[in-house]
């Protein structure tokens, strides 16, 4: 078996071969639009950055995780064991990232989640890195915004079924209470629910001046619709999980107007040169502006590409355990890499990017509008 590998490698090396990078994203299922948008960004940036100094090219192996833990774990294992990728970008959702965590460590495969925000994802694991801010920060941004605008009584509507939602709700609660805000009630829903009349009725009775909804877009759409239909005008803010104007528009239409959310990127305000080029390219190819999903997708890829490049430059053979470990360490030690959502420097101690800003956006007439940029 070893002889066969050696032979194959030699042939591949002589041909100016391929280095495989796995892409594990939810391409079907409730958040498939998130995954598809991310993939658009990855494919675009890959077209530009796929050649390596030793002549090799990076090949993307795309697997649909389906926003399902079992499918994603199987997909992850297949990428590692069968396709023998040197790194994986994904998963997208926090819950899925938590599920594959132990396999990343066991197989020592550098894994970069581009947008999973639950802090537990990178805790106690050397092989998962993320390209975005964590929910601790995101929750804080929302809390501070509410308090700044004197909205001191809040109701939090969170999704019991999602790690992302539970984590972000907790982060908001901590920051909000610390700043003097009062949480009237933590109301919960289950993803897949469509009827939120009970929750809306409760909110009507509690009369908060701020509603925080750290849930995903499909539920947010239905919730907003039912909330506004009851003529409740309380300001609503969510996290990056609702940051899909298409879904909000389709489900809630005019009822979604005014909802705010925290996000990773606003295409109207590209922070770096790479950003500007990316937005231009994206407009040319896809005829629309890139979303935060596409932008973070690109950044996740850039982290991996950068890591692979550095290890190839060191002269390492681009496959096998040693190479993966090198790539991982390079990713973990990334310093001042120009990305699409900002300049990326990873804290090697915890795998999170340092100083990642958040944007606050408002949904107006079907589109997301920039409100504020918050630096950590």
């Amino acid at each position: 078996m070893k002889k066969g590998i050696l032979f194959a490698l030699t042939t591949v090396a002589l041909m100016g071969g391929e280095i495989k990078v796995g892409i594990l994203q939810p391409l079907t299922g409730p958040i498939s639009s998130f995954g598809q948008k991310t993939l658009d960004g990855i494919k675009l940036i890959h077209k530009k950055f796929n050649k390596l100094p030793n002549g090799d090219t990076i090949k993307l192996i795309i697997v649909d995780g389906q926003f399902d833990k079992v499918q994603s774990v199987n997909g992850y294992k297949r990428l590692v064991d069968k396709e023998k990728v040197v790194a994986i970008e994904g998963p997208l959702a926090s819950s899925i990232s938590l599920a594959i965590k132990r396999f990343a460590g066991a197989s020592k495969t550098p894994t970069v989640t581009q947008i999973a925000t639950n802090p537990r994802v990178t805790q106690r694991s050397k092989y998962i890195t993320r390209a975005c801010f964590t929910d601790n920060f995101q929750g804080e941004v929302a809390a501070k915004y509410a308090l700044k605008h004197n909205l001191k009584k809040a109701v939090v509507v969170f999704d019991m079924k999602q790690d992302y939602s539970v984590g972000l709700a907790k982060a908001f609660k901590t920051a909000y209470q610390k700043g003097g805000g009062k949480i009237l009630k933590m109301v919960y829903i289950n993803s897949g629910d469509r009827d939120f009349n009970a929750q809306v009725a409760q909110i009507k009775r509690l009369k908060p001046d701020f509603i925080y909804t750290p849930i995903y877009a499909p539920e947010e759409g239905m919730f907003l619709r039912q909330l506004r239909m009851q003529q409740i005008t309380t300001p609503v803010m969510g996290g990056d999980g609702i940051a899909d104007p298409d879904i909000l528009q389709k489900l809630a239409k005019e009822y979604a107007d005014g909802v705010m959310f925290t996000d990773h990127f606003d295409p109207a305000k590209p922070p770096t040169k790479v950003s500007k080029e990316f937005v231009e390219e994206f407009k040319k190819v896809y005829h629309r502006l890139p979303s935060a999903f596409a932008a973070t997708g690109a950044d996740g890829y850039l982290l991996i590409y950068n890591g692979i490049k550095k290890c190839v430059q060191k002269g390492l053979k681009p496959s096998g355990l040693k190479f993966k470990q090198c790539v991982n360490s390079q990713i973990r030690n990334t310093t001042k890499l120009e990305g699409v959502t900002g300049v990326l420097t990873i804290d090697p101690k915890n795998g999170n990017p340092l100083k990642k800003p958040a944007v606050i956006e408002k949904f107006v007439k079907g589109k997301a509008q920039f409100v504020e940029l918050i630096q950590p």
Partner: protein
């Protein structure tokens, strides 16, 4: 107090949806003694057909719904014709029919999953209806949508229509005879197939109607929406008394009421909403297996 009335109306509205689907279940069970697992997915097919015709192809709402209902009925007939009928004619054991029903259910779900993803970009879509139905109406401090008012009344009218069909028309006599003794009907030279196809057509059409109403109230649709709703509708049919059309409607209303009103007053129970149907089912099986209408299969039908 207004709150209670509000929830009451919402409850009956939701209950009507369950009722319409439950009628289909009870008709098929009465005639073939088969729990048609695929029935809930027929509802989903109706919703997606409506989605394609109205939201994607731009058909007018009225004609779109009309065509959707017809097509859904046809899909129902197709499932009978291609799968159940061949097995029945071969004399297959009951378990084969049930497994086939599950197979059809799964097939429809995965088919429309692929269709939605391939042609419309994602499994989850938004069903758009004219704002006429969503307009809020206020009566004595209670606000609800026009839809929630129209639907229960419509359902009761349909119930009346079905009962008329069953007791005052030839088709109805045929269907009731089938439910009583299918062998004898065959022996008398009546084409049971056409009768059964009629049953499937009506049941599926009503399921499609229930689905479209559901999608109007809750615009987020996906290929797997039928399974849970179908399951609950069947529970409703059993609670009301399987084999009785009136029972199906009563059971549907009860379930809708329970699902909306209980979480409305006890919000902590919100997470258990989906469990109520099952609890009701077990309850009925334990204490009154023939359901509220108490149909004894050896004597009466429908």
């Amino acid at each position: 107090m207004e709150f209670f009335f509000q929830q009451l109306i919402n409850g009956f509205s939701l209950g009507s949806i369950y009722a319409l689907i439950a009628i289909g279940y009870t008709l098929v069970y009465g005639v073939l003694r088969l729990i048609n697992f695929a029935h809930g997915d027929i509802m989903m097919v109706g919703v997606f057909l409506g989605f394609i015709l109205i939201n994607q192809l731009g058909m007018g709402f009225g004609s779109g719904i009309f065509l959707t209902l017809l097509l859904t009925g046809v899909v129902g007939i197709l499932t009978y014709y291609s799968a159940y009928r061949p097995l029945l004619e071969k004399g297959a054991p009951k378990i084969s029919l049930l497994i086939t029903a599950i197979g059809i259910s799964f097939f429809l779900e995965s088919l429309f999953n692929v269709v939605a993803n391939l042609f419309f970009g994602s499994s989850y879509q938004a069903f758009s209806t004219p704002p006429f139905f969503s307009k809020m109406v206020s009566v004595a401090g209670v606000t609800f949508t026009r839809l929630s008012l129209i639907v229960p009344i419509l359902t009761l009218l349909i119930l009346g229509g079905i009962l008329y069909l069953l007791y005052r028309t030839r088709l109805g006599i045929g269907i009731r005879a089938l439910a009583f003794d299918i062998q004898t009907v065959k022996l008398m030279g009546i084409d049971t197939n056409r009768l059964i196809m009629g049953v499937f057509f009506i049941g599926s059409l009503l399921a499609g109607l229930g689905g479209v109403i559901y999608a109007t109230a809750y615009p987020s649709i996906d290929p797997y929406m039928g399974m849970l709703v179908g399951l609950k509708a069947f529970a409703a049919a059993v609670v009301g008394g399987i084999g009785s059309v009136t029972g199906a409607v009563i059971g549907g209303f009860i379930l809708g009421f329970v699902e909306i009103v209980i979480p409305g007053f006890f919000i902590e129970w919100g997470g258990y909403k989906d469990a109520f149907a099952f609890v009701l089912l077990i309850f009925v099986l334990l204490f009154k297996p023939t359901g509220i209408m108490g149909i004894d299969f050896e004597r009466k039908r429908f």
